[in-house]
Symmetry: D2
Subunit: 358 residues, 4 copies
């Protein structure tokens, strides 16, 4: 049973390989009457596209979104919305050298063994290019959330050992798009940029962390007992290429805290139930409690490096993977819109699911 | 759309509240011909049950599993397997004081607002008691995995600041059941036990980490692009009460690593493809690669403490939650079988899903 | 992938075999705040139970429903509702003679070959006893529908060659429960009863038709393009044991009609859009149009007859199936509440699905 | 919750409106390693396309299928297969006159009320044009079935009152494509053709029946208790535009049969279990028994007629729907490949589902 569909009510199915004719997404379950702005979709795709700055791959892709169905006179009709993005810069020859070789920490071997056949060009379906389809769908999810006043902000808070030294609630998310790192702090961004360029010079790559902050979420999103809101967020994030970890609220740091310290006391602020602290990360028992939701996503260093690596080919023979092509030295700047898109898909899905609770 | 079902092919639905007549699970999709041993189910339930040691709650529950369907003459028939566990030690009066009060960091408020009605006795459905049903289902999943030689071991590797100082591959999992902490190292377990007792004396609680290690997994489990094996594991773990974070393989530590260091080189060892290192945690591109799978799960401190806490009631008035009842000072010792059960459910589901890949 | 779950939002999973400890159903997705009356559930089960009249099997089953979860102080809580019915009159010895024999037109052979194991006692899971669980779930669905004013009426309109000679819109459904046939016309019922008794005397069985009529359905139920309201009704009906056909609105008779005759003209009656005729059966393009929905369901004669039949056993050897036991000469009188239950499940599911359309 | 997805393991999602840029389908769950022949897909689409004969609409559509993903070097890769068909002959002006009018027995009104917005051009998504996407997906399903030797044949067996007078097992399906009616009997086809032309001359339309016959189906397809093979076939057929009824095996005629007459006796023919008669239609207890599967599908007369009809517009005012455009006088000749496609989708889905039974 294949796994290219995400969501229960707002349900997306992505398709397409990095070097086939194109990639796309079908959204089934978008409510009717949503104003769909193709320019907003395009803007989100541009945030993800390669070649946008010196810290990203130099491949150029236009990633132009075309809506093929489900929108009539600027509004969603309740019918499936299909969005298609043609592949343009497909230098297939770049990949011929890896047809038989299993690159370290790539999906080459497992696809070969699982399916007995593999579209090896550029990683095929395992390429992060697939996430462009998610970003397009996420843009529509955001349009729905905006109608409810819900805002999602993600930003880079760590690159290698360089960490943004700020409490999540003190971050000024408006800063995120002011630098090419997408770190919501200019000064830290500069340090991160310098570090990435240093790593790049070495032909190497580096990991990072993206933090996400969601405000104005109504009470009640999330479904006991398996589809807890944070469980679905975790799955969404871990489904993004190169992600290795997820924590929400106090996360891993809660491990060494005591209950008396960690518990978020209730307060009635002018008729509004709030908590003094927010270690819960806006979610209790898997259900949003109205406080800001926040979480961290850990990204490993990109596996494609500009150095020769010893490996094995599909015949089991020793071979060398040489460092060719154009790749990101650090994936997090371009992954910020992807994190936001996946978060938006989860939130909008649960927003719709909540409608049938009572 | 409710969320009490987990899995795609091996699909479980749990039901029941902590203080209703009982809890249970229906497994739909268990293949026919599996030998089902009720004693093994019972043994797993006993690992999870309250009152088993001085570091757990002193509530006594027998948690006796009854198979109601789907097993004939000791074998699964391919029909739904229903397992039921009667609630016995239901001191409902213990909970009357919280009928109107929103306990800090509990699900009281969100259930009230979401559903407009709440079975407040002992947390009702939001109680960790629900996980007994998962453990019962997980026991059957393990029976299937054992037939394939797949082994799942979980153990406590951190309590508060006390951390097991061992590489995951060096852990002797056979040690786990030799102490009441379920830490796979006797010496560390002793320190953890002392610490938990100290915390308990304070009427407080403490968090912890459970690590899980899965071996003999065949190549090919996990479905691109959303149902990556680790994405489903993440969701499974985050769906467990009190879990705040998940990381697999190198996890959050990968963030500060370079690609040249993090990449797992392929080797051909006597015809077997293996990797020199295993930062990938046995999963590449979301698909198992045959190497050991491992991950960490962060648990927050239990929210119920034996201290008075300021809170708010359902009318929005200030109120006090007094520390009564019998609860766990640290949840991780009893959560070990739950982590194993959820892992087993994910692995068996993907094992079955793999059958239709080609 | 097993098939014991029905519905998308109001989702039921049934379990249990005819001669195991009991049967049951878990309803996931019942909205919170529904008044749940156990007596109403019991009343529906009593309409379905064996031994209720001389035209049904003489087996006695009490079929007492127990609610195990999801209802608190008489109201649904939004949590899974589990209903359990113990098996009482399990004369397992009655079935020992068929352990190895494949009864004609039963599921014995196919279960054996499909699963390699079979709970042969009374047909196990393939027994129509399973439908009691559906009736219990359908009773809760009806409680929700009643709140919306939607009414579902089914009745027997044909037994063998004896047909109720009335237009569907002229039927007085209140008559249905006034006779043991559940034919909404006393005179025809008497003829049907005489005929069934005649067939029974021969040790034989006979087929029949149940018609169903649903009124006060709002405009908009049904989802293009696959989950058309009538497509889901068709599946629901065909999933009932012994059903061989389904038609809605004009049904098979539409085949020889011309478009000019068959088209339902729109009329504006005091601001209410209605159609002059209703060949559409209240559904257009798969979506309810506010007019009465009606359909027919064809039931074959029960396969268990009181005559010896030549057959083959599991070894492929010729054998004789002797006519023993207590069975229905005609299934339709007891199937009326089953048809209503399945219809209610479909309608309530689509009523909830409609909430996320716009 | 929208309904544009069909199938559990071999799962298709269709998208696109009749007068938008195009229509398409994404197939998720096609096993890897299937030889995919674009010409075969095209051939099936050509059987469905308008303008192919004098008994069909004179609209010309090329319906050229383009594979956008999931096929590499002629083989399926296990990744989603996306097939796209551009709309060509979109005379949108033809439909401007119905923007505000509710055509009798069309989906205009219900779409308007359900979604509050409607792509009125040519029926938008409710147009039978959507079924081209199903035919494309069904062609791939057939490729898989052919590998297993399973053959699906459908043909027109009734048009208006003209009925093919043959037992289903005596039909020579090879005849179906020899006439423009797709009736598997030349003589009857001629009568049907004459009758359709007569109806067409009147500016009217007529209904019909398509019968379907499936051979070489292995024992074991179909899942108790809801996803019975015939229940899924019923849903599949009723999801096709203009279908009003479904019956399998003895169908509605079983109603007046006795059990002793209707039961299919088992025979051991050279080690092969077969039944003397096949009133069961190859399915028992919802599971295929190896005998031929057969069923009938009733189609109503097409709602678009070349006559003026009184109706109501979206304002509730009386209006006239004038008979314009180019439409089919009888839908069944072009619906034959659609019935086959939907049947193929059901069979292949259950063929894959069977792999996880034991």
């Amino acid at each position: 049973m294949a796994g290219n569909t995400f969501g229960q009510i707002f349900r997306i199915t992505t398709f397409g390989e990095s070097h086939g004719p194109g990639i796309g997404v079908v959204i089934d379950g978008c409510p009717a009457g949503i104003s769909v702005d193709i320019d907003v979709i395009q803007k989100e795709l541009d945030r993800r596209k390669p070649g946008q700055s010196r810290v990203t791959t130099q491949r150029k892709e236009e990633d132009q979104a075309i809506i093929q169905s489900g929108v009539f006179e600027g509004q969603s009709t309740g019918m499936p919305i299909s969005i298609y993005i043609k592949n343009k810069d497909q230098k297939s020859k770049d990949y011929s050298h890896i047809a038989d070789t299993y690159r370290p920490s790539h999906a080459d071997m497992v696809y070969d063994k699982k399916y007995g056949i593999r579209d090896y060009r550029g990683g095929g379906r395992s390429s992060a290019r697939e996430t462009a389809a998610r970003v397009a769908a996420g843009a529509i999810a955001k349009m729905i959330l905006n109608q409810s006043g819900i805002e999602i902000h993600a930003g880079v808070t760590q690159v290698g050992h360089i960490k943004l030294d700020k409490n999540i609630s003190d971050i000024n998310w408006a800063e995120t798009e002011n630098n090419i790192i997408r770190c919501p702090d200019g000064e830290t961004a500069k340090k991160m940029e310098d570090y990435i360029m240093e790593v790049k010079k070495d032909g190497d790559t580096i990991g990072g962390v993206i933090s996400c902050h969601i405000v104005n979420v109504p009470v009640g999103l999330g479904e006991p007992v398996f589809d807890k809101l944070h469980a679905d967020l975790a799955k969404a994030m871990l489904s993004i290429n190169a992600v290795k970890g997820f924590e929400y609220g106090s996360g891993f740091s809660s491990v060494s805290m005591r209950g008396s310290e960690h518990n978020d006391s209730w307060e009635n602020i002018d008729g509004q139930l709030t908590t003094k602290t927010n270690y819960s990360g806006g979610i209790q028992g898997g259900i949003s409690n109205g406080m800001p939701i926040y979480f961290n996503v850990a990204f490993k260093p990109v596996a494609t490096i500009m150095k020769d690596q010893a490996s094995v080919n599909s015949e089991g023979e020793a071979s060398t993977v040489s460092g060719k092509g154009r790749h990101d030295p650090c994936v997090v700047p371009r992954a910020v819109p992807i994190v936001e898109a996946m978060a938006a898909l989860v939130i909008v899905d649960h927003l719709l699911r909540m409608r049938v609770n009572r």
